[in-house]
Symmetry: C2
Subunit: 331 residues, 2 copies
Amino acid sequence: MSRGRSPTIKDVAKVAGVSSATVSYVLNDLNKVTPEVDALVRRVAKELGYSRNNAARALKTGRNNIIGCILPTLTSPVFPEIAQAVQLRAEAHGYATLVIDSGNAPMREEKVVRTLAKHGVDGAVALLHPKFKPADPPLFPIVSLDAKFPGLDSVHADHYAGGRLMAEHAIALGHRRIGMLSGFQDLTSSFERRQGFVDAAAGRVELVWEVNVHLVPQLPPVAVEAIRRREVTMIACVNDLVAIAALSVLKDSGMSAPGDVSVFGFDDMQWASWPLIDLTTIRQPLAELGSRAADLLISRLDDRQRPVEDLVLPVTLVERGSTARVGLPLP
Amino acid sequence: MSRGRSPTIKDVAKVAGVSSATVSYVLNDLNKVTPEVDALVRRVAKELGYSRNNAARALKTGRNNIIGCILPTLTSPVFPEIAQAVQLRAEAHGYATLVIDSGNAPMREEKVVRTLAKHGVDGAVALLHPKFKPADPPLFPIVSLDAKFPGLDSVHADHYAGGRLMAEHAIALGHRRIGMLSGFQDLTSSFERRQGFVDAAAGRVELVWEVNVHLVPQLPPVAVEAIRRREVTMIACVNDLVAIAALSVLKDSGMSAPGDVSVFGFDDMQWASWPLIDLTTIRQPLAELGSRAADLLISRLDDRQRPVEDLVLPVTLVERGSTARVGLPLP
DNA sequence: CTTATCTATTTACACGATTAAACGACCTGA
DNA sequence: TCAGGTCGTTTAATCGTGTAAATAGATAAG
């Protein structure tokens, strides 16, 4: 105590006049002790400013009370919102969260998992590339974010329904000629979003052009050219970041949304609502995604036998100023 | 091994036919052993897939190889860039990083520090409110980000010079009547930015109005009104987020930058360069800020006696499309 | 050939907590 | 009264590493 060292369970035991086992029982809420002793121990512990040594506990129990959160990058508007929710929920359960970015490469994902294992995480929430190969046997339980993953628990938005929603809204606004900036189709969520759109649009909309793009706010030349051809009344984008890139191209080309062409995003990341951007989009509940994933992971940690669960969260349409009824002049 | 349990130092020792102490010496690179034994042990360890149990090591040595990174929030464009750099650098040194957001409140900062201590971090990089009171004695070393902090190592950009740079560029563009959206002055960086600006502007620029605002992309009504009065040719903002809020107000009011009024930001966060935003700003080297802070923290962990260090990084002017020479018509 | 000096390795304990098992005190029912 | 059960508490072993101290073996010095 006064000798700098922080007090251990034994110090508490000595002061309280009981054995260290008793202290441990009290502090772990196994109710094995009389109310008086319980109260006494708690009081003494608080007085001494006792706080459990996590390393010792981890060594003995094999549980570290740390979970990992693996995301493709932190420098994107979407993922930090998820990370924040995971962390908040984990903390409520007494877990700390190790947020790590995997740089979007499946190989690095596997390395990151090993790193996390080395640091003794009990499990992780992860947004994984479908090509990711889990170690066998797995180093720790993983909950897959954003997409179903064979053998893993998962939490994700209903991308397919979102795609349909986009198409139906576009049709309702009178759009018949649409260009599409879809994501590369190896990513499950990109695939499902497109699929939903295409299924709902079938026969009612002409998909004039389509370009696969990376999920970043820069477009490849072929996409820029497509936009400049002015052949469509709407550009449907795989996510908000890409939609912003499209808006940028429009601005650079002297066009604007929704006057010359409507632009439709997906995600409803925080900045989509800024007046400068003001993007019509499909909202996925990012925070809920994170907290549900944390919950799921922690239940899994408590019971490794429970059946694998796949949680699908609903999406909603958020109508803003980047889309308009076709043919309607600017207000 | 084959019994599920992962191999320990004793398993390695048994297979290699040496004692566990020898294995420990080898794996910790204390060169106390013959080259042959060294090689043998390493080979066996690799063969068994041995990996050190961090909890046991932490228990024995009191070092966890984890550092914390405390930031006001993750859902801001600026902080994740720093976090990413911290993490990358920490990983290179064999440390994992616990990123935590403190929600911008000094009281919560103190709580977060206790949480981190509970999870056994060896130290932390933190962006602290000046009112933050470190525990005494400190629970672990902290490197202060973004501002000097009494008694702590620190790494931050040269906010004062940045403020001057803003003023000088404004003057060079011919601006004489300027409105200012400054941050609340209890935050050191906001204070210094303003001070630099005011000092350099003295006598050459009229500060027509000034409003203290929170560092978020929404402005209070009084700021909105000030902007709408159209009394100035430039709005100087405490950071990019606030500058974006100003641009939003302009757009909502049927004005635009730089045609009606120039807008000047600070930070050069990632999105400032998007064509939709295209913000003239003062760049602070966010990634370098993070990695230098991590370096500094780790040196501190290795030597608690070294004198406190204050690292100031230079800022630069980034000229984009939100500012223009005064009186110049739109191109 | 003895004794001192190194050096490579091992022995043995500590770190702080958890927990099965042992223990003792008290109660209960025949 | 005594076997058996219950309850609250303690004893003691254990988790995997690190490391001071002991030990053995080789070398050098006298």
